[in-house]
Symmetry: C2
Subunit: 100 residues, 2 copies
Amino acid sequence: MVGDRTDWSAMRDRRMAEPGAVEAYDAARLAFELGRAVRELRERRGWSQSQLAQASGMTQSAVARFEAGGTVPTLPVLERLATALDVSLHVSFAPRDAAA
Amino acid sequence: MVGDRTDWSAMRDRRMAEPGAVEAYDAARLAFELGRAVRELRERRGWSQSQLAQASGMTQSAVARFEAGGTVPTLPVLERLATALDVSLHVSFAPRDAAA
DNA sequence: CACTGGTATAGCATCGTTGCTATGGCCTGG
DNA sequence: CCAGGCCATAGCAACGATGCTATACCAGTG
């Protein structure tokens, strides 16, 4: 079937509710995508969750939780993961129209 | 004077301590820069802290705290601010060498 | 079958951010 | 001088992420 996937765009149009409603959802999605990104970087290095945990000063359970998108990570944690994975973390605001 | 600004690069070279030490500092610097960015966007719109607070579902005190870099913001808060300021929030990992 | 390594999940304590209220300083205008 | 808007800061409660330990599930392997 064609319309199988969730209609994200429709949900995003629910602007104008109370402040914090849609944005909280965005944060959850961001958490999910960051989790996937870290998992990719980790597996590319052939590391286990335990190894990444030790390298970033976390525990294996915290890594698993984060990669699963179970929680919205904090910036300090993202920094530590970035350092451990030898990448740099970028956080920025950009105009809506401009791609970057 | 030329060497007026703080020598950040020297501090950044303090890698190799325990995990979480330098990264916590990075997070604080990130918080400071994000605060400045939001303040710029806000003032460019001619908004007061109270107006931005209401638009983003925060309080004036929280906005002030954040703009001053007093705390490391969470992703949900950054999302709300971005939405209120009509910009998009970008969080990503990038290779250290590649600029972006 | 037992054993090992990797991952997911749970429960709890701790820490930090945020929400909220209130206050003080600063500046401008009346 | 007083009033009002703007910003900074403080104190406290509540919420959420993290640290930590322990456990369960699964896939290989001997």
